[in-house]
Amino acid sequence: MRKWVMAIILTSGFLLLTGFNSAQSKVYDYADLFTEEEEQQLQELAVEKAQETQLDIIILTTEDKEGKSEVTYSDDFYDKNSFGYEREKGSGILLMIDMEDRRVYINTAEDAVNYFSDSEIDSMCDEISSYLSDGDYYGGSRQFINILENYKNNENGNTANGNIVNGYTESSNTESSETNLFTYLKDPLISFMAAFLMAALFGAILCYHTTTKMTATGYTYMNKNEYRENERLDIFTHTTTVARKIEPPSSKGGGSFHMSGGGVKHGGGGRGF
């Protein structure tokens, strides 16, 4: 009995401390697109995936944005409800299905801004909108939550989990996926070629050492007392300059963002369906 109580207190205490409120509703179906059961399923999925992605995941459907833009409306909704994984008004990602304009909008908050680049958000919108066009609002929302892990970048700007993303495969690697010089050495053919080349070089050096070399140079015979520099001029004439624009670091590192009225960093993107 006591153990259970302790466990409950600790878990809820932990969750409260982290700011993540799993008891809070994550699904707001104002446009009434989901059944009760679907809402429940989405809620469970959102809470489950929140732990994995370290983000508060929210699903919002609406028919009336009260005259606001999709950006402002979703910003305000997020801020007003103080969503956030690590604290209130913290990191999270919100999917808004806007039946007023038939648009899907993904809103990122705080750290989530860095986890998803603009192009990745666009890709996610594309994936989801196909469901929505077919009227499968539940399917689209579910898909949204499921693909979050795939698109999410860790600090290095690499996707944390390899899967088919945008049609091309990335190598599955849960640590940083850099290939360094040593990776190439694992291939026995490359190792052998490298070893052979170096050995051949060594052999050539040994052969070179079987002959004797000429060592006397001009300086051997130069009378240094008689050396004179009559003239030494280094005259600067002109400079030619070439300008080159440096590519900004690829937006893989994060997306564009703005500060919402509620003082929260928000990013995101959307498209019609």
Binding site: G203, T210, Y221, N223, Y227, R228, F236, R244
Partner: protein
């Protein structure tokens, strides 16, 4: 004619000993300095009359009377019958007298030691090379050289560049600074040697360099006793072409070395002027070892003063293949290991 130096004590022959740098009697061990032997030489008074004599003629050994077999370039040799050291005095006097000589600094034993050490070394040398090679000929010979003193001038005009980069915001600027560079130097090159013997290969003699000129001394005939010696085949004028090319390269290197710190150097104009001030006839000591290995003849040459040697070690194909194979295997294992750990 032919002279040789006789020991004042016992009448045997005096030879120049490289370890003591004196004349030593091979029989009783009496020593004299080179100068003393030279001054005691009675035939010196005949110098003027010998000048008119021709180069090629028969010489008889003053000890045994036999005819000394020699070619027109030899100036010091041994009588092929009785072995006494014989110097062709008339080929070494007057105009044909060398100005300077570097006496032998190391003797036959030392030279042999150097050879043995060299033949025994090397990863690729066939085993038994030292034992299986037979020494056909082992002679100490004074090789004729011309030593040139040259004045050299070089003027260079070049366009050079330096590169630096700056950054402003998101634009990188690569600046190339252009310079007009002018250099004008004078220098002197002294005692640049050119081997004046037709018989000795030039490239081998080049590798004997450098000789230590501190030990360059005025020529005196007794130094040659006990060694072979040649006189020059080519005059100093005939070799000047080769020497001038060499000195040109010296001054070119010297002037180009003064241009430092640039990324690119583009020479627009180069002017080199050489002036020969002096050419001296010198004799330099060389040990020549001709050996035979697997029915092929090789020559091992040692600088008789500094010990610098020239020779080509034979390469055993078997050993070379083994070496490369072993190295490949070891490196292969190391690479695979590294790949597994760090890859």
């Amino acid at each position: 004619m032919v002279i040789n130096y006789k020991c004042p004590s016992c009448g045997s022959f005096m030879e120049f000993d490289s370890s003591t740098q004196k004349m030593v009697c091979e029989h009783c061990g009496t020593t004299r300095t080179v100068r003393e032997m030279d001054e005691a030489d009675p035939s010196r008074k005949q110098d003027e009359r010998d000048e008119q004599k021709q180069d090629f003629k028969t010489y008889s050994c003053p000890s045994c009377g036999a005819q000394i077999l020699t070619d027109e370039n030899t100036v010091a040799t041994f009588c092929s019958f009785c072995g006494s050291p014989s110097l062709m005095e008339d080929r070494l006097t007057g105009e044909k007298s060398p100005a300077v000589v570097i006496p032998f600094k190391m003797n036959k034993e030392r030279a042999m030691e150097i050879y043995r050490k060299w033949a025994g070394k090397g990863l690729l040398t066939p085993s038994g090379f030292l034992n299986m090679s037979t020494i056909e000929k082992f002679t100490g010979i004074y090789v004729p050289f011309w030593l040139y003193d040259y004045q050299a001038k070089a003027k260079v005009v070049a366009k050079c560049t330096r590169v630096r980069t700056t950054r402003a915001g998101d634009t990188e600027y690569i600046h190339t600074d252009h310079f007009d560079v002018i250099r004008d130097i004078d220098s002197e090159y002294v005692k640049v040697p050119a081997d004046a013997s037709e018989q000795m290969p030039d490239d081998v003699m080049d590798r004997m360099e450098p000789f230590n000129y501190q030990e360059l001394t005025e020529f005196e005939m007794p130094y040659l006793s006990g060694y072979l010696a040649e006189k020059y085949n080519y005059t100093s004028d005939e070799l000047s072409g080769r020497i001038e090319e060499r000195v040109s390269q010296f001054i070119d290197r010297a002037v180009m070395d003064t241009i430092q710190g640039y990324v690119t150097v583009n020479v627009i104009d180069k002017n080199i002027l050489l002036n020969c001030e002096n050419a001296k006839y010198a004799l330099f000591p060389v040990w020549l070892l001709k050996y035979r290995y697997r029915n092929k003849d090789y020559t091992f040459t040692i600088n008789g003063q500094t010990g610098k040697f020239d020779g080509k070690l034979p390469i055993s194909i078997g050993r070379l293949v083994a070496c490369i194979s072993i190295t490949t295997s070891v490196l292969f294992l190391i690479f695979m290991l590294l790949g597994g750990i760090f890859g």
